[in-house]
Amino acid sequence: MSDLRFVLYSLKYRFLNSFLSIMLTAFGVSIALLISQFGNHIQNRINLDGQGIDIVVGAKGSPLQLILSSVYHIDIPTGNIAYSQAKKIMNNPQIEESIPLALGDNWRGFRIVGTTTNYIRHYDMSLSTGRYWDQNFEVVVGSSVNLNIGDEFMGVHGLLEDGSSHEEHKYDVVGILKPSGTVIDRLILTSLNSVLDIHGLHKVDNSFEKNHEHQHDHEHHKEEHRDVHEHDHDEEKHKSEDENHHKHSKNDKETNETNVLGSSEITALLIKTKSPIENINLPRSINRESSLQAANPALEINRLISLFGIGSKSFAILSLILILIASLNIFSGLASNLENRMGDLAVLRAVGFSKKRIFKIIVLEGILVVLIGILLGILIGFLLFSILTHNIFTLHTTNASLIFNLDFILIILFVFFAGLIAAIFPAYRGSKISIANQLSRTI
């Protein structure tokens, strides 16, 4: 009989104890995996999506909400800002790049973002097929959006799936982006004016999109204004000041720049500054001097992580405790079983099993428990992970997926060695038994 078979019979014999050890190990592993995987996912998304964005300017409100909505596209915006005001900030010489965003609609949960192609360039992305937009209502879609070139669709009002649709305007898909692993993958991008138009706002002059330096030369507002639609704009969150803008925008139809800009609204401005000092100075002056809000993504996200960190830390401790309990259980299972099987081990020694082999058999028993526990733990981890990603919106939309990273390997090694150490002491004692004494034991 092979040693493995012998060990399996022995585990089967004390099934309840083995089962408990296996389950404890499995839970420890799965929780540790979940924590590290989600932490890693969040960190990756934060780093990737937030790359090169130093300041975000938007309507007053929660700075974190502003960051989450405009950089990570997972919350609703704090409101809209007047384009004229945004424009002033964009002209600040300390700014290297600024990207306007206009949010408001979605298609099957994918946000429609009015912006400039600078936004795409900012994430170093390129088209996989098709072309960029050059007419209003032409869109370029991210790789996760299930639309093809030539598809037409209607935007739905609001940023969540169930809103009223804008039946008057159809978007045309003209381009599809390569996958990048960033937030862009699940966005539908179009010109700023498409979004403004659909919400009955004045279009902005988009000459800056072509040449940033000459943005002051524009006086040409060629496109004809479409009819303004009478509808309740925006989500519940929007403040009354926004509504004033809307009413205002419906009334004037001038091509005069100040008027146009005064009546145009965007949602946020993503800014890359020229020097790190401006990351602190610029938001300070914007917050003080204007009705806008400027937030520093790095700062806000750090704040969020430190809040969230308390929760994840206690989960990490919980999984550590579970792994320790599992190891202790493996130890106590083997140690208490050892008392019962001294006679058996003595017989094996007597018929010629070496000390090494007895040691190996007991360690193998511990290893087997811990390995089955680890496998089961990975399985449970995968299962919980996919259940969670399917059911938690933000995880679902950010394409959370389980990856084999260093943490994954470290967790498994840690659990494995904890189990191994738990088995070594009983194994050592088992190999050292006095054969003759055990065999002569009557009681």
Partner: protein, 207 residues
């Protein structure tokens, strides 16, 4: 010479259990160790099989002196040369009959478990857990296990002490039949004088 025992002395907690023993066992000969309870029979068998270390004296097995061997070498001798039928049987309770015998098989010329089981009339019991066997059945399993590796020396410690006349005869015939087949040496310890008559070529010693 299979075994050579010189000036063997064994003390346990300052009590002399065996003193100045000298004897040889030739190959093919059997040894019957007679002695009353507590006289040191089990101790002698354990010394001869290398499970205990003598306080004094030498034990040679096939010209190898135990104290000159590594522990693992003695393990190897036991694994390849010795078969054990223990006084208290010591079957492994959570394994069935077949598994108990199979467990110690370690040689290419090991007997087929099926043949052993058949030879000892355990056909119907091969899948039964040993904890559910009668004493007589368990004893036969212990014998089967002791013979499984076709050992050249079989140590049988009081194999018949708990058996009636009928079963004593059956067990002894069984063991002797096996030793005849494999030309092996039987070393039996007992306080049971009934056994004597089954041996023709024996070295007898009283402790």
């Amino acid at each position: 010479m299979l075994f050579k025992i010189k000036n063997l002395e064994y003390k346990k907690s300052n009590k002399t259990i065996l003193n100045n023993l000298n004897f040889n066992i030739e190959e093919g000969k059997h040894l019957l160790v007679l002695g009353s309870s507590g006289s040191g029979k089990t101790s002698l068998l354990n010394l001869m099989s290398g499970l205990l270390k003598p306080t004094n004296g030498e034990i040679f097995f096939k010209d190898h002196e135990y104290s000159s061997l590594l522990e693992e070498e003695i393990d190897k001798i036991r694994a390849t040369n010795f078969g054990f039928i223990f006084q208290k049987l010591h079957l492994i309770g959570h394994l069935n009959v077949k598994q108990n015998i199979d467990l110690i098989k370690n040689k290419n010329d090991s007997k087929k478990v099926e043949n052993l089981i058949h030879g000892l009339g355990l056909n119907q019991k091969s899948e039964q857990m040993v904890s559910e066997l009668s004493v007589g059945e368990a004893q036969r399993v212990a014998i089967a296990r002791g013979l499984a590796n076709s050992p050249c020396v079989i140590f049988a410690d009081e194999p018949t002490s708990s058996l009636d006349d009928y079963n004593t005869q059956k067990v002894m015939e069984l063991i002797l039949e096996q030793t005849k087949q494999t030309k092996s040496t039987l070393i039996v310890s007992t306080h049971d004088k009934r056994i004597k008559k089954y041996f023709s070529k024996i070295t007898e010693m009283s402790l």
